[in-house]
């Protein structure tokens, strides 16, 4: 532990195995998400980046795939590749969609960058029959080491910006996220915890071990009971 703590944080980040790209070139967490999506369904990917997931879903699964992306370069790359992507952001551009417009709404590695994560989550569950949300776990042991022992804001593979230039303004732990889901009254259909190589392992997302060992969480949510 002391050895790990002594590592310069940037080295800790670079030592993490590169998120092993699968044969199809899809990032490991996106691949897991893709596996959860039914062929020919209607999907909205919010924060779709360059559209890698959309492209995969459209080509391999015949999905009616749409995307929203904040960066102009990401949007342009998506549209250039024939994908349906609009320039916009999760905080502002979801309210125009009608209820239940999509079978699945994907929010991968974006929740922590929104201004109003709770509102965004509620919008996902309004416009999608199901929502798949992935996010970096701020309870991950390396993150805790960096903050607890070094007294520095953590920089890891999934949180790879310094505090002063990070877009991640609303970080949470897996337990925080589960608590928010309970508060909103949504059902957690399925959850996956991913280690720092992007490999899934099965742990109860409500347990403290998952909160310590998982670098990312991937949650499938559906429906809402009454908002408390």
């Amino acid at each position: 532990m002391s050895r790990a703590a002594a590592l310069p944080i940037e080295v800790a980040a670079s030592q993490a195995a590169p998120a092993s790209p699968a044969p199809d070139g899809l990032r490991s967490d996106l691949r897991l998400i893709a596996e959860m999506i039914e062929p020919h369904s209607r999907v909205l990917d919010i924060g779709c980046g360059d559209g890698a997931l959309l492209d995969y879903l459209a080509r391999e699964k015949g999905v009616d795939a749409r995307g929203i992306e904040l960066s102009q370069s990401g949007v342009n790359a998506g549209v250039r590749h024939g994908l349906s992507v609009i320039q916009g952001d999760a905080d502002r551009d979801l309210e125009a969609f009608p209820d239940g417009a999509f079978d699945v709404v994907v929010l991968s590695q974006t929740l922590q960058a929104t201004r109003q994560p709770r509102l965004v989550l509620e919008e996902l569950l309004r416009i999608g029959k199901r929502a798949i949300v992935s996010f970096p776990n701020f309870g991950f042991w390396r993150v805790r080491l960096s903050l607890g022992f070094r007294g520095r804001m953590p920089v890891t593979e999934h949180l790879n910006n310094s505090w002063y230039d990070t877009p991640n303004i609303h970080l949470c732990t897996i337990r925080d996220f589960v608590a928010l889901c309970d508060d909103i009254g949504t059902r957690i259909e399925r959850s996956l915890t991913l280690d720092r190589h992007g490999r899934p392992f099965t742990l109860d997302p409500r347990g403290s071990l998952a909160n310590l060992l998982a670098e990312q969480g991937v949650f499938v949510l559906s429906g809402r009971t009454d908002k408390r």
Partner: protein, 392 residues
């Protein structure tokens, strides 16, 4: 007749392209029936046997059907020549391109300078006031005549974007994809205001003669030039004007303490005005600007923009430019939200440029890449291939 002594204003038989006489009457929004009337149009590429590869290009206020030909009056290259050709963004090996001069125009389609059969004189202000929807209705008759059930794409910038949207709203089954560039679902108060300045400049010219200038052998070229100069400023941006001209003087070392064109920007605008009057009819300018002013898709549907696309589902690719203050990005975003509300398939790209509204006519690589990607993606889904002729 004296009008025939104005050769620059007559549609001429030796101009390239085609013209179609529509015999049936067209009922216009102003409740007047127009017809028979003529549509002048140009085509590039070849219609495939399935008739699935036709792209209708809609021109802007002062554009015309000569998308990729030298202009028959000015000799200037076609206004979207950079996009059209084998292997181009508008690939003539793949698509069949059609562009028609709009109703009310002055390049061969029936407009206020053509002869009113009832009087034997040019229509002038007796010509019925048109809307964008009337222009699109006329285009639909042309497309029907060409035997095309569904256009692969309707594309245009500015007023062309209005037409692309009108097509998607009025004839959704006849459009596979719609690409409105630098457009809006309605003309803003500011834009109506600029148009009014232009119209007043024309009507204040003594040579306008209540619109009857052709019959009287005159031409309100000074008024039309001023209208063009004012409008041209709105097509650019402060940054582009500054980059191009700054405060540079025109062929002189110091200001002259007079009202000659001391500054390059003045000289440039005067040139824009004087070349425009050689190719454009003043009354056409009045009628077409009016049609743009009246454009409001939501108003056609009880004030609801999503309702304008209720039945639809063409694919949309909406494009705006950061420095366009005539049709700003906010207008395109409102359109995107309306289309999202009906869960339409829509792409939206805002392109960073300092070239203002006119960016859609200029060399803008990001625009070209976006259009190429969108069209190629649509073509794959529609089964429109390149070089279909050599495979057939």
């Amino acid at each position: 007749m004296s009008i025939l002594t104005e050769p620059q204003l007559r549609p001429r038989r030796d101009w390239p392209g085609h013209s179609l006489v529509i015999e049936e009457k067209l009922l216009l929004d102003c409740a007047v029936e127009l017809g028979p009337f003529t549509i002048a149009y140009q085509t590039y590429g070849t219609l495939n046997p399935e008739r699935s590869n036709a792209i209708l290009i809609c021109h802007a206020l002062t554009g015309d059907q000569y998308v990729a030909d030298p202009h028959p009056i000015t000799g200037n290259p076609g206004w979207w020549k950079t996009l059209v050709g084998p292997g181009g963004v508008l690939d003539t090996e793949r698509y069949f391109l059609i562009c028609a001069n709009v109703l009310g125009g002055c390049m061969g389609t029936t407009g206020p300078k053509e002869i009113n059969p009832a009087t034997g004189e040019p229509w002038a202000l007796d010509f019925p006031v048109l809307t964008i929807r009337d222009m699109v209705r006329a285009q639909k008759l042309l497309i029907d005549h060409l035997g095309i059930d569904q256009l692969f794409c309707v594309i245009g910038g500015s007023m062309g974007a209005m037409q692309a949207l009108q097509w998607a709203s009025t004839y959704p089954q006849s459009v596979f994809a719609s690409v409105p560039i630098a457009g809006a679902a309605r003309h803003s108060a500011q834009n109506i205001a600029f148009h009014e300045v232009g119209r007043q400049a024309i009507m204040a010219d003594p040579d306008w003669c209540g619109g009857r200038y052709l019959s009287l052998g005159r031409n309100p070229s000074r008024g039309l030039a001023v209208a063009r100069m004012a409008a041209h400023i709105t097509y650019l941006s402060e940054a582009a004007l500054h980059r191009k001209f700054g405060r540079n003087l025109q062929d002189r070392r110091a200001v002259t303490y007079g009202f000659d064109a001391d500054f390059q920007v003045e000289s440039y605008l005067r040139h824009q005005g004087s070349t425009f009057v050689d190719r454009f009819d003043a009354n056409s300018y009045l009628y077409i600007t009016r049609a743009m002013d009246y454009f409001d898709l939501a108003a056609e549907h009880g004030g609801s923009l999503p309702a304008a696309f209720g039945g639809s589902q063409p694919r949309f690719c909406i494009i705006s430019f950061t420095s366009d203050w005539l049709f700003p990005t906010a207008e395109s975003r409102a359109l995107v939200h309306a289309l999202n509300a009906v869960a339409a398939n829509v792409s939206f790209v805002e392109i960073e440029t300092d070239k203002g509204h006119d960016a859609f006519l200029l060399h803008e690589p990001e625009l070209f890449a976006t259009l190429r990607g969108f069209l190629t993606g649509c073509a794959e889904r529609r089964g429109v291939t390149r070089f279909w002729r050599s495979r057939a």
